[in-house]
């Protein structure tokens, strides 16, 4: 390790980065675009679900309930059914994703409160609809299965209705998404940038010249990776700022902790990128492999689907991914005001990931030079 040589590589890399407009645009563009995309477009608050209503009671109270449901905007009543079979038909054809059933003895059930008074049927084949319906179902009012629709695979009756949240449609707002987005964006940009930057050197033939100089592979890799630590921190700041100004996402815990955790996570992502660079022969391959690591992380880490809802095997797999641990850390710090001390196992997991990746990369690096 020679500091002068290391700095020479860092300086060179920065000059090249400043000159590479595309990468530069990606550094700022990807976080901005993703934040706005996830914040606005991919809103997990599902609203205006096409729905039908079957009001067999037809009392003043039942009509009131239907009107209330309609005004919540979660369900959009497009059909009025007279028979349960009609609901089944509509759902099978994909005309509706949900249905509300009010039984003839609605009033009696409501008074006695021994059985669910009414029922929501959802199209269980759509994960996001199911999730939305679960949101509605915090109240354990109705747990009654609805005949054929419930017993058929792909369709499940969801118990009860969450009434309170009808009037708070912003429940799963960007507040939850933005902290996770920091992790997702870094997982995407850091891995791709580093893997490609290192592979580029080999692909363009620069490596062949460099090997004949006293520059060691370790100095070269470290020098190339260091500028990206800075870039990662810039991206974190950008997302935090945009999250605050555009969506009003707060940082409830310590800002220092946020950066400390981000730094550790950036280290893990960079090491993953270095590891990929030892496998890939071309920049294109590096990009493909980076995506290969990116997708399972985004799906299993708990960013998109709740960790608790996944099968045990998927949970074990998720424990390997740095994003899983980072999400727990950043959500804890930003939203629950947790301290790093309380979350140390997650920090340890990230550190372990870095050490393992580094060890593998160093071993592989020697081989690829021959």
């Amino acid at each position: 390790m020679n500091l002068a040589r290391l700095l020479a590589v860092v300086r060179k890399e920065l000059v090249q980065l400043a000159r590479d407009r595309l990468t530069f645009a990606m550094i700022v563009g990807i976080p901005t675009l993703q934040l706005l995309l996830f914040g606005f477009a991919i809103n997990l608050d599902i609203r205006h679900l096409p729905a039908a209503v079957l009001d067999q009671a037809d009392t003043a109270r039942s009509r009131e309930l239907v009107a209330e449901l309609a005004s919540s905007q979660v369900l959009d009543f497009r059909y009025r059914a007279a028979l349960p079979q009609q609901l089944e038909e509509l759902m099978r054809r994909g005309r509706i994703s949900a249905a509300v059933v009010i039984p003839p003895d609605f009033e009696a059930r409501f008074e006695q409160a021994d059985r669910p008074a009414w029922q929501v049927i959802v199209d269980g084949s759509d994960q996001s609809v199911q999730a939305a319906a679960r949101q509605l179902a915090t109240f354990p009012l109705a747990s009654l299965d609805y005949g054929g629709a419930a017993s058929r695979p792909g369709a499940a009756a969801v118990p009860g209705v969450e009434i309170v949240n009808f009037y708070n449609p912003q429940r799963r707002a960007p507040v939850n998404t933005v902290p996770g987005l920091i992790g997702v964006i870094l997982a995407m940009t850091m891995v791709i940038f580093t893997a490609m930057a290192i592979v580029r050197e080999r692909e363009r033939g620069n490596m062949e010249m460099l090997i004949a100089t006293p520059l060691s592979p370790f100095e070269l890799t470290l020098g190339k990776v260091l500028p990206y630590v800075g870039i990662g921190l810039v991206q974190v700041s950008l997302i935090l700022l945009l999250g605050w100004f555009v969506f009003g996402v707060p940082v409830r815990g310590s800002l220092f902790d946020v950066y400390l955790v981000a730094l550790l996570y950036i280290g893990a992502m960079l090491m993953l990128g270095v590891f990929i660079s030892t496998l890939a022969r071309s920049q294109f391959q590096a990009m493909q492999m980076a995506f290969f690591t990116f997708l399972p992380q985004i799906l299993l880490s708990g960013f998109m689907f709740p960790y608790e809802g996944m099968p045990v095997a998927a949970q074990w797999l998720a424990e390997i991914f740095p994003l899983t641990h980072f999400l727990r850390l950043i959500r804890g710090i930003m939203l629950r005001e947790a301290g790093i001390g309380e979350l140390w196992p997650e920090m340890a997991a990230l550190a372990a990931f870095i050490v393992v990746m580094l060890a593998i990369a160093v071993r592989r690096f020697r081989k690829t030079l021959d």
Binding site: A4, L7, V9, D20, R204, I211, A212, T213, P214, L215
Partner: protein, 327 residues
């Protein structure tokens, strides 16, 4: 083009000594039991067609590739064990331009100066002298990717000699430049040799090979001939003749089929014939007249191409170096 005679006053110290140097890639034997001796301040050439093992040999001599078998000492260091020590005192100019296209001439050289441990005033002085010697002064702010072939080559040479290496290895350095740039480039190489640098150059140009002090002809990974270009031509195991005839294409076909004829090449209206019989041409004369009665045969002096053809064509019949080793 005449080769400059090897400087006789300098000590005949061996800079590269290789014995049985071999490199395999899977089943392919890229370099097969090569023996080499390269002396200080000489320009040593590797001549051979593409795929003959020139680049692989040069990479092994740089410490970039580990040999599969054999021993090699470069500047007194055993490779691949002391590769790091060797890297401090060698320069390597790659076949493909390998500096950074998106850095300027100046940024490229400053980066390499820092990599080689040159700092401050030393670095500045060294770079200034390189800008001047390789006519890069006006090109300093230009991005390397925008330079012409000749300019890139001068930059690559400046980069390779930046740390004043004792040994400079060049892998087909002139494949992408015009004839004038090639001449200038070779002048630069002789300047370096005069200053005491040892040069190993691979090429597939005969005129370039002829300018080397000594030469190794490689064919399919094997050394098939070596020595000074003059000695190689003088010791050609055969003779060359010029054949003037009316129908050169027909004559060429007829002669090519004969035993003892190693090569027939059409030069303008006449044919140049290489045989493995060292006689006055009476044998060829009789063969030629059998095809065309009016044709005339005249002896000519052999050139390096004849040596190359003879060396690569006769290999199965006269593998003298190989039999020595396997016996």
């Amino acid at each position: 083009m005449n080769a400059t005679p090897a400087p006789a006053t300098l000590p005949r110290e061996e800079v590269i000594v290789a014995r049985g140097l071999t490199r395999r890639f899977g089943d392919l034997v890229a370099v097969d039991s090569l023996d080499l001796d390269v002396r200080r301040a000489e320009v040593y050439g590797f001549l051979g067609p593409n795929g003959c093992g020139k680049s692989t040999t040069i990479r092994m001599l740089c410490g970039l590739l580990a040999p599969s078998a054999g021993e090699v000492r470069v500047l007194g260091h055993a490779l691949p064990r002391d590769a790091e020590a060797v890297k401090r005192s060698i320069g390597y100019m790659t076949q493909k331009f390998s500096l950074y296209d998106d850095l300027s001439v100046r940024e490229n050289l400053e980066f390499l100066a820092a990599v080689h441990g040159l700092r401050g005033e030393n670095a500045r002085r060294r770079l200034d002298s390189l800008y001047e010697r390789y006519r890069l002064d006006d090109l300093r702010p230009r991005l390397a990717g925008t330079l012409s072939g000749g300019q890139k080559q001068r930059l690559a040479l400046a980069a390779a000699v930046l740390h004043e290496p004792e040994l400079l290895l060049l892998d087909e350095p002139t494949s992408a430049v015009d004839p004038q740039s090639r001449r200038d480039f070779w002048d630069s190489l002789f300047d370096l040799a005069e200053a005491g640098t040892t040069l190993v150059v691979s090429t597939h140009y005969m005129d370039e090979a002829e300018r080397c002090h000594r030469l190794a002809i490689l064919d399919r990974g094997r050394l098939v001939a070596d020595g000074s270009p003059q000695a190689l031509m003088a010791n050609l195991p055969g003779a060359t003749f010029r054949v003037d005839c009316a129908e050169p294409r027909r004559m060429q076909q007829a002669l090519s089929a004969l035993p003892h004829v190693l090569g027939v090449a059409q030069i303008g209206a006449s044919l140049r014939v290489l045989t493995d019989r060292r006689d006055d041409g009476s044998w060829l004369d009789s063969q030629v007249r059998a095809v065309e009665t009016e044709a005339r045969v005249e002896p000519t002096s052999p050139n390096l191409e004849d040596v190359f053809v003879a060396a690569t064509r006769t290999r199965p019949a006269a593998p003298h170096r190989d039999t020595e080793r396997t016996a």
